[in-house]
């Protein structure tokens, strides 16, 4: 009887293992295809030149620059607001209706579909604020979208600061603000940065929010001001794969661009994951 139950257990555990394995396999298959077909497209020229011959040859420099520019604006918007929101929620707020409302807002903001952010950015930043299709409008849109991720990460980092630190600081006569500024935030800093990298990496790969707010089909010049329109890596992949003049002939460029985007995003993620693992070890000691 017990033997039979243990056999059932063995079979189920095997199934669970296979399920976990399937995820890894799916990721590996995608990465394999992009890598094996994309690396041939990547050359020095590909990374440092603009596209030419109606985007059937040349490089993707304007897209790389555009994506970085959009990310910078995203950081400038989301990091200060996100960290400050987290500080309020974790350090100041007492549990109550107001906090519950704020959290409800954050949770729902996190659930808003990316294309709806795009619609909002188009209607508000591009049209009402007259920014047009620009780095500023796209970055602001991405910034609002990234906000919940950064708030979540920062809160987690603030929570991991032991209460004894705060009490020690308050006990020697520091005010709450001094305690936060000089004790809590410095200790939480690495955690906040790790979470923010994860948030920004997500913004870097997003297409829908910038389609009509920041990114354009083609622009030969690199952006000179924050009100210029840009090309962006994710949008470039979409354009080449669905609307280019020669979709089949530019396949290698599409794979190459996808590979660059993945390397950018995974690079950020891996550094964040490694940084976090190191921090956890430190905390344990």
């Amino acid at each position: 009887m017990i033997k039979q139950r243990l056999i059932i257990q063995k079979l189920w555990f095997l199934l669970l293992r296979i399920a976990a394995l399937l995820n890894g396999a799916a990721l590996a298959v995608i990465v394999y295809f992009i890598l094996s077909r994309g690396w041939r497209a990547i050359s020095w020229e590909f990374l440092t030149k603009a596209p030419k011959d109606s985007m059937t040859a040349g490089g993707i420099l304007p897209c790389i620059v555009g994506t970085i520019a959009l990310c910078l604006v995203t950081i400038l918007v989301a990091l200060p607001i996100g960290v400050a929101s987290a500080v309020y929620l974790n350090e100041y707020a007492a549990q109550g209706k107001l906090v519950r409302l704020i959290r409800l807002g954050i949770n729902n903001l996190a659930g808003v579909p990316s294309i709806v952010f795009g619609l909002f950015g188009l209607a508000f930043f591009c049209i009402v604020l007259k920014m047009g299709v620009s780095i500023a409008a796209g970055g602001l849109t991405l910034g609002i979208m990234t906000l919940p991720v950064i708030i979540g990460a920062s809160e987690e980092a603030l929570k991991s600061v032991p209460n004894t630190y705060r009490e020690a600081s308050l006990a020697i006569g520091a005010t709450k603000w001094q305690t936060i500024r000089k004790v809590v935030l410095p200790v939480a800093f690495p955690g906040i940065i790790t979470g923010s990298i994860l948030g920004i990496s997500r913004a870097a790969g997003e297409t829908a929010p910038i389609m009509y707010t920041g990114a354009v089909f083609f622009t030969p010049e690199l952006p000179a001001s924050i009100l210029d329109e840009v090309m962006a890596l994710p949008y470039h992949i979409y354009v080449l794969a669905t609307a280019g003049t020669q979709i089949e002939a530019t396949r290698h460029l599409q794979y190459g661009t996808a590979l660059v985007l993945i390397m950018l995003v995974f690079g950020m993620n891996l550094s964040a994951i490694i940084l976090r693992a190191k921090m956890r070890k430190k905390l344990r000691i």
Binding site: A20, S85, F120, A123
Partner: protein
């Protein structure tokens, strides 16, 4: 004295910033409605939602989004059928069975899955999966509901898995030990004690995963085929709500009927995800763990 004044000022400053998220959410809703409601001058709510014909550029235009809504729902359900069991099983594996060393490798893999840009997944569905399923199932086009659902499942799994894992992990050890003490095997404990005890968290995970799938744009834009028709089988092309907005916004003249109709689709989409999130929020708040007791 001065220090206290600064302290009070800083406190209110942080409060104001913390209100930013909910303010942003509020303005998103306001703008969706400002730009979306004018479509009701041309079509009634009933015809908009239940109208079967979506020909926004014809003269006169037809603005019925029923096939788009159905497309979204079908794609999401089908991806749920694939992602929910796989996500939860992976979560159980990670939280209960995996040796710590293995878990340390699998968890970053799940995180990398979550960080994979959606446009890359859509691209993969288009150029690799589409020809593949076209061959295997012997169908005329590979860009269809099945393809998009498969890709969406890949995107929903990380959400379902990581939130479920947290829930399973936070089940008090005492419950587990009590079950062992009664002679239950590890597997019986998982099925009869651990999963019921973490059910609210798992439900939240599933709802948030589906919410992510229904709102996802690039995948359904690139891999779903894009035909605004009521699907007859899982190998029919569909045109979910986000795909419509993304594909048509470029050609919709600013301030025209089509433009307003696309914002109205945005409202419908927003209501879907908002409901999902409210339910998830309600479940996790109502059944939140208090001390040792849950359920």
């Amino acid at each position: 004295m001065k220090r206290q004044v600064i302290d009070k000022g800083v406190h209110s400053g942080f409060l104001v910033i913390a209100l930013f998220s909910i303010t942003a959410l509020f303005w998103i809703v306001v703008f969706l409605f400002i730009e979306g409601i004018p479509i009701l001058d041309h079509v009634s709510i009933k015809d908009f939602i239940f109208g079967k014909y979506w020909y926004p550029t014809d003269e006169p235009a037809d603005f019925g989004i029923f096939s788009l809504i159905l497309g979204s729902i079908c794609v999401t359900l089908l991806s749920g059928i694939m992602a929910i069991p796989l996500g939860i099983m992976t979560a159980v594996y990670l939280a209960e069975i995996a040796p710590p060393r293995v878990a340390e490798i699998v968890k970053p893999i799940v995180e990398l899955m979550a960080s994979m840009p959606s446009v890359v997944i859509g691209f993969f569905g288009m150029v690799v999966v589409a020809p593949f399923i076209q061959q295997v199932f012997d169908i005329p086009v590979g860009l269809n509901m099945f393809n998009a659902s498969l890709m969406l499942a890949f995107m929903a799994i990380p959400t379902i898995c990581s939130i479920s894992e947290d829930a399973i992990f936070s089940v008090p050890t005492a419950l587990k030990e009590a079950s062992f003490a009664l002679g239950a095997t590890h597997f019986e404990t998982i099925v009869k004690v651990i999963i019921p005890a973490s059910l609210s968290g798992i439900c939240t995970a599933v709802i948030l995963g589906l919410s992510r799938a229904i709102g996802e744009t690039m995948v359904v834009l690139m891999a779903a085929g894009g035909a605004a028709m009521i699907p007859g089988s899982i190998f029919d092309p569909v045109r979910p709500l986000p795909a419509s907005i993304a594909a048509e916004m470029a050609e919709a003249p600013f301030g025209g009927e089509h433009y307003h109709a696309l914002f109205a689709i945005g409202i419908v989409l927003f209501i879907f995800t908002f409901m999902f999130n409210l339910i998830a929020d309600y479940i996790s708040y109502k059944f939140r763990q208090v001390g040792e007791a849950s359920l």
